[in-house]
């Protein structure tokens, strides 16, 4: 319940630490603080699972504490801890900015936490904005790089446009239902006699468009590759994991709580969007020669798989979405961490930069191989079970066609994920050694271990949501 409050305080504490000239302690403070907040979530999670704690809402229904919000909060905090551990080294060059960077990261997390636990449209909008504004800043944070500036600007312009649509949509929904509270809206919609009014449909459609934009679904994905490539790699990693997962959780929460009765009207659109997202993301990823762009486009197609989870709302797919997010998130994080190390050693983010990594650093190459296998959905890694759960939900709710599209795309995906593996093991190495340090090794280790454990014992994680 207090997760959001504590996290916000932690962000402010970062800024205060800068004033007190405690710059060196900011990173340990943040990591420790988040670890403690994570620890506070664990008992809640256990109690919610064993039903000894009932789901409840706080602050006039603004924040909801239930299995969904606590599990996703814990996941996002883990992502944030891993990202912070990576950032210590990544931002060493600009030490005077470290407190800004850390606090913005933590505020991003605040936005994400609000997005997984909102009970009110106002909180939902706040969450999206806090998350987005922090990311606009981070995307442009490499101020001497033109690409980074472009990324920040592009993301900001497109993102604020989407926020405008979102706000408009919320206003229309409010106009119809006279409530910002999710339960109020749900109650209104459930009690409507006869067909729903067009105004409500337009409102929902606008919200849908804004959310599809935030999760970079086709045809609203055009910002993603440029922004991903231009931003500093660590920010890219944050957008691909933390931000995307939070947006999907919000997507699910909003539509599952309020809008299920209106859903049949959007079924075809969403199916088409999901199919297009998976397919286009994959096909474009095929022809990339930059690792980062490949990850961006493959991230687009993963968003498509998650959209299948949203499409099958009737099946209560929250567990499947949670598991998929976890699998996708940890595999991406370790891949990005290794990409940062490689880019630091070779100065390039292209596939050729990975040439001969298998000889130069077998452990890193092994970890990247595992991550790629997991992203490609090869058993027994977590990515495989993620796909399994999504597919079986789709089957259960009768979405056969989209499942076949998704399967065909999983096969295509293997090709570009294996491009990295082939580069690492079959190409000759250059003489630029790739070195890891303690923080990076720790992050990569944790991510790989989670990936393996989640793959071997998926029911532990799938049951977390209660």
């Amino acid at each position: 319940m207090k997760t959001l409050v504590y996290t916000s305080f932690l962000g402010i504490a970062c800024l205060v630490a800068e004033v007190l000239n405690l710059r060196k302690f900011i990173l340990p403070l943040c990591v420790l603080g988040l670890a403690v907040i994570f620890g506070l979530n664990v008992p809640d999670l256990i109690q919610l699972q064993s039903k000894s704690l009932a789901p409840a809402s706080f602050y006039n229904g603004m924040v909801v504490v239930d299995g969904f919000s606590v599990a996703f909060s814990a996941l996002l905090i883990v992502f944030a801890i891993l990202l912070l551990l990576l950032s210590g080294d990544f931002y060493r060059k600009e030490e005077d900015k470290i407190s800004d960077y850390m606090s913005i990261t933590i505020f991003t997390l605040c936005g994400a936490l609000a997005l997984v636990s909102f009970g009110n449209m106002a909180m939902f909008f706040l969450g999206i904005e806090v998350l987005s504004i922090s990311l606009y800043v981070l995307a442009g944070s490499n101020k001497r790089s033109v690409r980074s500036n472009e990324a920040g600007m592009k993301y900001f312009l497109m993102g604020s446009f989407a926020s405008g649509l979102l706000l408009f949509g919320i206003a229309l929904v409010y106009g119809e239902t006279a409530s910002f509270d999710l339960n109020g809206i749900a109650e209104y919609i459930a009690n409507v006699q006869g067909p729903l009014s067009p105004m409500l449909y337009v409102g929902i459609a606008l919200i849908l468009v804004a959310l599809l934009f935030k999760v970079s679904a086709v045809p609203f994905h055009f910002w993603a590759p440029d922004v991903y490539e231009g931003s500093p790699t660590l920010t890219t990693a944050m957008m691909a994991t933390l931000a995307k997962v939070a947006a999907f959780a919000a997507f699910y929460r909003l539509f599952a709580t309020c809008f299920i009765p209106s859903f049949p009207a959007f079924a075809w659109t969403l199916t088409a969007v999901a199919a297009a997202t998976i397919t286009l993301g994959n096909l474009t990823a095929l022809v990339q020669d930059s690792f980062k762009r490949m990850m961006a486009f493959s991230g687009v197609s993963h968003a498509g798989y998650l959209l299948i989870g949203i499409m099958c709302l009737y099946g209560h797919t929250d567990a499947a979405i949670f598991y998929y997010s976890l699998a996708y998130g940890v595999a991406s994080l370790s891949a990005f961490a290794i990409a940062i190390l490689v880019a630091k050693a070779t100065g390039s983010e292209k596939f050729e930069a990975f040439n001969g990594l298998g000889k130069k650093s077998p452990l890193l190459a092994g970890a990247l191989t595992l991550s790629m296998l997991s992203l490609a959905g090869i058993p027994p890694f977590a990515g495989f079970f993620g796909k399994y759960y999504i597919f079986s939900e789709a089957f259960r709710t009768g979405h056969l066609g989209i499942t076949v599209v998704a399967v065909v795309n999983s096969i295509i995906g293997v090709y570009f994920y294996f491009k990295v593996i082939l580069a690492m093991y079959t190409q000759d190495a250059d003489d630029k050694p790739v070195q890891s340090n303690l923080a990076y090794s720790l992050v990569i280790g944790i991510a790989v271990v989670i990936s393996l454990i989640a793959g071997l014992f998926p029911s532990w994680f799938i049951g977390l949501l209660g």
Partner: protein, 480 residues
């Protein structure tokens, strides 16, 4: 305990091989593969009795997946094939210096683990995981230690990987679909399902695709010849000797009894495909100049006949298929080993460049001769019984088809003897001038193979006896 031990020993061996360093790798891996063979052989008295160990532990609660393994006669014979051949395969690599030997041998043992897992799993999902798991080591073995040029090789093995993965993903969809109705992946629950005929007919193809690619049945075979050629010989042995038996075994275990109506409905098409494969493989094999490609296509012909026998859905077809699966495993490995020995001494697989080896190495030529005779299915070799039973089953199914399929024996003799003639007889060429006689180590790998060829050629009854209860059970499940 013994069955579990047989499964886990190779896994432990893989880890230890990695841990104990480059120099010990080959001996550690050989030791572990022999240990697995020992525990496996110790199971013989228990086969087809109530004492045969089986394990069932709940593994994942949602979906409902059990770690359940068991071995009936059919599974046991497959396991026996695996654990008997892997030591031979490891022995066959001793003559070649491997870079990064510990990874190589660890991957072979890991592969053994996955293969045994496929054969003993009685939970569909567990089976699927082992099935996919077997793909990863063979991919890396072919990629790193292959024979061909590197750029081309990475393309070829990637094609192989994607091809087989594509098939198995459709199988996964099939399993997910079945799970909707059964609520469990356990074999007996899947056998108990009675799905409507039209569903079975479609679902049949989801499974068949996965198996047909692995076996391979024409027209899903295009990955095979190139992959065999590019992979290191040990990899080709694993692929052709054991891995493609996964597909054949799976037909018997996971397709026919689970979807009997779908199978019966599609039998005519499938048998036709199999027989086309038999003839096609044999004819293409005649035209090959590369030893490994020739073996690949002859293998295509042989497995086509095995699959045809399985789809006749008759007892003699099943028994013949099982006998021939074992025989083919032994024979193809013997042939690949001959190819490997030639390559070690001449650095080429090209038949045109070879000749006159028999005058330099008569002992090797005799071994080669025996392996070829077995492959041609000469009476008193292990290839004969199986091939005869299979052809008989096809004959009972349809006379015309059996005549077409029977041509494989003649064509087989043509390409095999042609290969023997052009490599072993005639005058020596510049690469075969100082062809060395086979070493003690190589003989050590040959002896068990030749012994198996002759012993089971003369007396195949034990195999048929062990398999029979399982064959009967499968037939009953189909006829339910």
């Amino acid at each position: 305990m013994l069955l579990l031990l047989t499964l886990l020993l190779p896994l432990a061996g893989a880890l230890l091989t990695l841990a104990l360093g480059q120099n010990n790798a080959r001996y550690v891996s050989l030791g572990f593969s022999l240990a697995a063979l020992g525990t496996g052989l110790a199971l013989i008295p228990l086969v087809n009795t109530a004492g045969m160990p089986a394990y069932d532990l709940p593994w994942i609660s949602n979906p409902n997946i059990h770690f359940s393994i068991a071995a009936d006669g059919l599974s046991y014979l497959m396991v026996l094939l695996t654990i008997a051949l892997v030591p031979v395969i490891i022995l066959s690599t001793f003559g070649r210096q491997m870079d990064n030997a510990r990874s190589f041998y660890a991957l072979i043992l890991f592969m053994e683990f996955a293969l045994i897992g496929v054969f003993v799993a009685t939970d569909g999902f567990l089976y699927y995981i082992f099935w996919e798991l077997a793909l990863i080591p063979i991919y890396f073995i072919s990629l790193f230690w292959g024979d061909g040029e590197r750029q081309n090789r990475s393309k070829v093995v990637l094609k192989f990987f994607i091809y087989t993965l594509a098939g198995s993903l459709f199988m996964l969809l099939g399993f997910i679909y079945l799970y909707q109705f059964s609520g469990s992946f356990k074999l007996e629950d899947l056998y108990a399902l009675n799905l409507p005929a039209d569903v079975q007919r479609i679902l049949f193809w989801a499974f068949f695709l996965a198996f047909a690619i692995k076996i391979p049945i024409v027209p899903f075979h295009t990955w095979q010849a190139e992959t065999y050629k590019e992979a290191p010989t040990a990899g080709s042995m694993l692929l052709s000797g054991i891995m493609l038996k996964m597909g054949l075994y799976s037909l018997l275990r996971w397709l026919l009894p689970v979807l009997p109506i779908g199978t019966i409905a599609n039998t005519p098409i499938v048998i036709a495909l199999c027989i086309i494969g038999v003839v096609y493989g044999s004819i293409i094999a005649i035209r090959q100049d590369n030893i490994k490609r020739l073996i690949a296509y002859s293998s295509l012909a042989h497995v086509g006949l095995i699959a045809a026998g399985i789809f006749t859905l008759s007892e003699v077809g099943f028994s013949g298929a099982i006998v021939q699966m074992l025989a083919h495993g032994v024979n193809v490995i013997a042939l690949f080993f001959c190819g490997e020995i030639i390559y070690r001494r001449t650095q080429t697989y090209d038949i045109n460049k070879l000749g006159g080896i028999r005058s330099q190495a008569p002992r090797f030529a005799s071994f080669f001769m025996i392996a070829l005779f077995a492959s041609v299915a000469l009476p008193l070799t292990n290839g004969f019984i199986g091939e005869f039973m299979l052809l008989y089953s096809v004959y009972e199914y349809n006379t015309l088809l059996s005549i077409v399929a029977g041509s494989t024996i003649i064509l087989g003799a043509v390409y095999s003897l042609r290969m023997f003639q052009r490599t072993m007889l005639g005058g020596a060429t510049d690469v075969t001038e100082d062809f060395k006689e086979i070493t003690i180590g190589e003989v050590a790998a040959f002896v068990p193979l030749v012994a198996a060829i002759i012993v089971f050629g003369v007396y195949p009854k034990p195999i048929i006896d062990i398999a029979q209860p399982a064959v009967k059970a499968i037939l009953e499940a189909i006829a339910r």
